[in-house]
């Protein structure tokens, strides 16, 4: 019997809202939306956490511009604070060394991290999800039962198709869906909302492709000044 499974709910019990930022494909902006949403809400006075669950390609720390993240030990481990956010990432342990491992071991690592992390009281915990519906995504569904999904899609047919499949699986599993957020919109008069006919989920708005976003990666004050952050702020206000 795996004893860790019995304490995960307790570790998360003082968190008001757990929001998974997902969407199927890689490279659609899940990490930047998760990290920037967390920063925006923290700046507005909320207690916020960010969990990078993309164990095979963690990058939330790059967006936050930090790699010196040492959790404190206290009846488990306490996430280090970065720009006011309680931040947990596997890079706190892998120390920048490249690693590769299989699904079953990723599952074990995720279970361990969830069982020992003491988040304390939070208003929001954002979970930066890995692409796809493989082991880590299924572990998140199994272990973090209260998770609500914020789905990201870009205007591309390719990402839309993958996102819709993920949505179907999540609905089948009765997971709560916050809505769909369009990212990297490039054409003024073409909204993803018109392509969501027949889906019973809210459309939360569009974030334009922002050519200046890249320069602000790793620099939180600059990141929060971008057009991307401004648009995201409006979208976040809609669903919190």
């Amino acid at each position: 019997m795996d004893p860790r499974l019995s304490v995960i709910d307790r570790r998360l019990e003082k968190i008001e809202n757990i929001i998974a930022v997902s969407g199927g494909k890689g490279g659609i902006g899940k990490s930047i939306v998760a990290a920037a949403s967390a920063l925006i809400l923290a700046k507005n006075g909320h207690r916020v956490g960010l969990l990078d669950l993309d164990f095979c390609g963690p990058c939330a720390h790059v967006i936050l511009g930090t790699d010196k993240l040492y959790p404190e030990e206290e009846k488990g481990i306490i996430p280090p604070k970065v720009n006011g956010i309680s931040f947990m990432s596997i890079i706190s342990f892998t120390a920048g060394c490249p690693w590769a491992l299989r699904g079953s071991e990723v599952s074990n690592a995720i279970t361990e991290l969830l069982a020992i992390t003491q988040w304390g009281m939070l208003d929001y915990l954002f979970v930066d999800m890995p692409p796809g519906l493989g082991d880590p995504a299924l572990d998140a569904i199994r272990l973090i039962k209260r998770m609500k999904y914020l789905l990201i899609a870009t205007p591309s047919k390719v990402t839309l198709d993958v996102m819709k499949k993920e949505l179907q699986v999540l609905e089948e599993l009765n997971m709560r869906i916050i809505g769909i957020l369009e990212n990297m919109k490039r054409k003024e008069n073409e909204s993803l909302s018109s392509k969501l006919d027949g889906l019973k989920v809210s459309f939360l708005g569009s974030l334009d492709y922002d050519p200046h976003l890249e320069e602000a990666i790793g620099n939180v004050p600059e990141l929060l000044k971008t057009g991307f952050a401004r648009q995201l702020h409006e979208a976040v206000e809609k669903f919190i």
């Binding site: 499974l5 019995s6 690693w99």
Partner: protein, 137 residues
């Protein structure tokens, strides 16, 4: 001491399982502790003892929990080589500490001694596991 979190997991899980099986009094809990996790047994026992005091409706005597350290075996998925991490103290301090928190981080610090791939698995001796629970119905 992060052992506290794992000790709490053992106590909570044992109690849940006892309830499920209608066990009124637990007489033995066999816990395996994987060597890779390098749990300090004294710290772990101390944590167990203190956590038990919090849950006194279904008392679980410290002596009822039997801790057994399990040696580790790693196995390469590519060339099939099996090996044991003999001396964990040879690792750098931060690496050994990372493995202590999350044993899978071994994949960041070592490679198969046979073929050099990170594609190996932890077959045995990973972490904390409840082997069995015995009790009176």
């Amino acid at each position: 001491m992060h052992e506290w979190a794992l000790a709490e997991a053992v106590i909570v899980a044992a109690r849940q399982e006892a309830k499920k099986q209608n066990i009124k009094q637990i007489t033995k809990v066999q816990v395996k502790i994987g060597e890779l996790q390098q749990i300090d047994l004294d710290v772990f026992k101390f944590a167990l003892e203190n956590i038990q005091k919090i849950y006194d409706d279904l008392p679980l005597d410290e002596n009822i929990i039997d801790l057994e350290v399990e040696s580790n075996i790693l196995k390469c998925k590519v060339c099939g080589k099996e090996w044991e991490l003999q001396d964990l103290t040879h690792l750098k301090e931060d690496e050994s500490e990372a493995i202590h928190f999350i044993p899978e981080t071994a994949h960041a610090f070592m490679r198969c001694p046979g073929c050099g791939t990170p594609d190996f698995e932890i077959v045995k001796g990973r972490g904390v596991w409840i082997q069995s629970i015995e009790g009176v119905l």
